[in-house]
Symmetry: C2
Subunit: 229 residues, 2 copies
Amino acid sequence: MSRPLAVVLLSGGMDSCVTAAMAAQTHQLALLHVNYGQRTEARELRAFREIAAYFKAQLILEVDIPHFRRIGGSSLVDPSLEVEDYGQVGEGIPSTYVPFRNGLLLAVATTWAEVVGAEAIFVGAVYTDAPGYPDCRPEFYEAFQRAIDLGTRPETRIRIVTPVIHWTKEQIVRKGIELGAPFHLTWSCYRSEDIACGLCDSCHRRREAFRAAGVPDPIPYANPDPSEA
Amino acid sequence: MSRPLAVVLLSGGMDSCVTAAMAAQTHQLALLHVNYGQRTEARELRAFREIAAYFKAQLILEVDIPHFRRIGGSSLVDPSLEVEDYGQVGEGIPSTYVPFRNGLLLAVATTWAEVVGAEAIFVGAVYTDAPGYPDCRPEFYEAFQRAIDLGTRPETRIRIVTPVIHWTKEQIVRKGIELGAPFHLTWSCYRSEDIACGLCDSCHRRREAFRAAGVPDPIPYANPDPSEA
């Protein structure tokens, strides 16, 4: 019997790449990438395509949602705002929070999952060891699950699966190594599209995770790791 | 003191037009239209623009979400499927149901509402007197409300308002007449973009509503009303 199908939201970063590797243990993959006007959109799309080829995905969908760039509200989509260095990120919600972005990504994933008959949506959201974006909270995913149950056909069954939501970034690296996840194809930097800056919050947390896991990060950085100075 | 801002999902049909008229009683309007590849997309967009001009909306946003046409799953977005006449619509969910469409529209509305500081999202969903799309159920909106509460900034407060969800189409027509809603600018037909067919489920229910309310429908139809034969 063939494996059931799962939609995986794959940004091209390390968390979603490891999530895809976990989904691949039990499911056929329907990989979904959304271009939402983020600064490193082109580089993330390249990472998505290379990772999708690596996993030999059953289905692939790329969706453009350009309105974020027009409405702004986040340094990740508004070029006039600055993406802070790791050390400059203060308390509260970082400037890189994109309003209800994960809600929108889940909604897109649900439309596709219902059409192709996927029984799950895998999301690589991380809450415990992450900057505290509200749309990464476990309770948010529980609420969205209920919206899916009520807002789709009665016979449709789609589970949201967030396998790494309570993990540390170090645990995610270790799981990825165990499963042979293609970290060399992933892209995490919030700022740059050629060589990862190594200084933004996302680069910093990635480097810290590899260091803690005791394995080398296979991608190059433009700047030395400030934590190793 | 100026009125608070409300995002209104405005398709260009009569239900959302009356909903906008109701929102205008208490709020400044941020009118949102989503082109999702529906058959009558261009005609609905024209209706949206004319209605937005009529209401002198404070803010206007048009968003393109073209992936539905690629993934299919509904006669409303897939030209190879037929939109049935009223009499041909059977039991269950009609072919015009677009998977989780309202979930996606709400997610887009939430992203915008959070950025512009709107305190409400008005949606002209009708459940009681409508074809039974799952994403028009009151419980679906309650669940989505919770997803919004949990998936946005702690200080963000956005209420979903569905003022006509339990109304008959006749009640909606009467309320629109009372508030001076511009029915002559609205578009309801699922099939045609020049003259409304008058035979699809959406045309049929609109004509029936005007007849029941005892007022003339200001738009012309290509076919006589079968109910009057």
